[in-house]
Amino acid sequence: MKKSSSRVFKTYVLNIVIIAAIFIALQLMITNGVFNSYTSGLVVQIFINMILTLSLNVATGFLGELCLGHAGFMAIGAYTTALLTINSGLPVMIMFPLGLIAGMIISGIIGFLVGVPALRLKGDYLAIITLAFGEMISILLRTFKFTGGALGLNGIPRVTSFAYSYWCFIISLVLIITFMFSRHGRAILSIREDEIASEATGVNTFKYKMIAFVMSAMFAGLAGGLFAHFQGNLAPEKFNYNYSIDIMVMVVFGGMGSVSGSIVSAIILTLLPELLRGFSEFRMLVYAIMLIVLMIFRPEGMFGRKEVTYRVFRRFLKRNKQNKPVS
């Protein structure tokens, strides 16, 4: 008991050190001009995409329900936050964090409302409902006056700095991990594995499906809010089903149900199209071919359901020690 609690403490310290070190390293590179404005923009985009991928992974990877309207939740978060910072009259630096929280809450509420009918269905049917919902949002945003109609929203203060995107990502990551590795997370996993058995074992499956779905929507909303203030403008067409599919691709590429997979695949799939600019017109073709190759050779995604944990490293180190020839 004592041994394990000291190990937990050590892990906490190590986590905090790593998180801080990455932050300081990246921040220094950005302020000292190692990254130009294009590259640092890419870094912010990577962190936003990581939040997005993680959030969809909660609904699709952990809960196991195919959601094809994730861009819709992101749009709700994006517009809510942007409208608040533009119209509230408060200083942006105060309003922006509040707006992000508001965006999460509104996304969560909409997620709940969509979930009530949608979560009674399974698999393909749920996918179609969420797909339809995503399209609905995109069309509504185009119709409403206060969202700027088809022109979208312009003049959103561009305040999503690297620090914002990074810390929002860390918060999302920590919340999702701590939630998933608890009795509540286990309940959600058990629904993915076998809903009938889960219900018979005493899990209120509807409740936990709803929790996962709302959580997924909330973090998508957060990513949306960051995205809006990163871009500086919002167009309703951006949030169509293509974008939902893009997010889904990141989740599947990384491995459904793997947090580590989501992180790595968000990095790769954000960078890849940029790195492939050299191929000019064949860019998307190469990207598509790489996806096909991965799906053929590793249909479960890069990480499957595995995680990169300290335990993996410890085991790896141990094995290496044992393998060293005795000289």
């Binding site: 608890s182 009795r183 309940a187 594995e193 018979a200 005493g202 899990v203 499956t205």
Partner: protein, 261 residues
């Protein structure tokens, strides 16, 4: 008072009366067999007991409290846990996690406690691990605690399913064809397991089974179902020699009960 009282239970799916006038009781710490030919309604009775279906007639009481109108996941709160005809494990979760899921409904710590890793989380999780380990030890499975459930051999998967059901702290364990697909050795092992459940956990077991060796070997009482009605009830020997039961299983020309529902 009997542990489980089933009174004139019946369910109708449209024009089909799947179960009718089924009444029986189960006392504390006994093993009861529920047998009958295919399609007799045995699994339907299980599904009624665990609130998968809601009866159109009759009543089910556990410890004197009616379970009618309850949700499926609330069944375990009454002390009824079940296994399935075709094994339903959480295949890509570890053996340990499968069992811990069984503790879920008695879990106390909230979502904030989980997210912020409050002391309640650590205490309860440590508690779960300990209890799960105890349970695995009892069934001689502690060495596979970290194995993915789907990778276990068939017999152990059955055992794990029983363990998971036991983790919910049932008073009555419902086993749906536990010996299906097992060879003679595995069936023997299963019989030992079921006896162990009865003796170690002091609970009752109601089991559906086609394997007569198993049924006659461990059941203290047997209920025979045919065409959704109770055909016979009694001690294994009485049931075995009951001409109506023999008729239902082997078919008989003279007995109208066997063919008319």
């Amino acid at each position: 008072m009997a542990l489980l009282e089933v009174e004139n239970l019946g369910i109708r799916f449209g024009g089909l009366q799947a179960v009718k006038d089924v009444s029986f009781t189960i006392g504390n710490n006994e093993i009861v067999g529920l047998i009958g030919p295919n399609g007799a309604g045995k699994t339907t009775v299980f599904n009624l007991l665990t609130n998968v279906y809601h009866p159109t007639e009759g009543d089910i009481r556990v410890g004197g409290v009616s379970t009618l109108g309850k949700k499926q996941h609330e069944t375990v709160d009454f002390g009824l846990a079940r296994t399935f005809q075709n094994i339903r494990l959480f295949k890509s979760m570890s053996v340990m996690e499968n069992i811990k899921t069984g503790f879920h409904h008695r879990g106390r710590y909230s979502i904030p406690a989980a997210i912020f890793r409050l002391p309640a989380y650590w205490q309860e999780e440590a508690n779960y691990t300990e209890q799960a380990m105890d349970l695995l030890k009892t069934f001689g499975m502690s060495h596979v605690a970290e194995v993915e459930a789907g990778n276990l051999p068939y017999g152990q998967q059955r055992k794990l399913e029983i363990c998971r059901a036991l983790a919910t702290h049932p008073k009555l364990l419902l086993l749906d064809e536990p010996a299906a697909g097992m060879n003679a050795t595995e069936t023997q092992e299963l019989m030992d397991t079921i006896r162990l459940v009865q003796e170690h956990f002091k609970i009752s077991v109601l089991l559906i089974e086609h394997d007569m060796n198993l049924v006659m070997g461990i059941c203290e009482r047997i209920i025979v179902l045919n065409y959704g009605k109770i055909l016979a009830k009694g001690l294994p020997n009485e049931v075995r020699n009951n001409p109506e039961v023999i008729g239902a299983y082997l078919g008989s020309e003279g007995d109208p009960n066997a063919v008319v529902s």
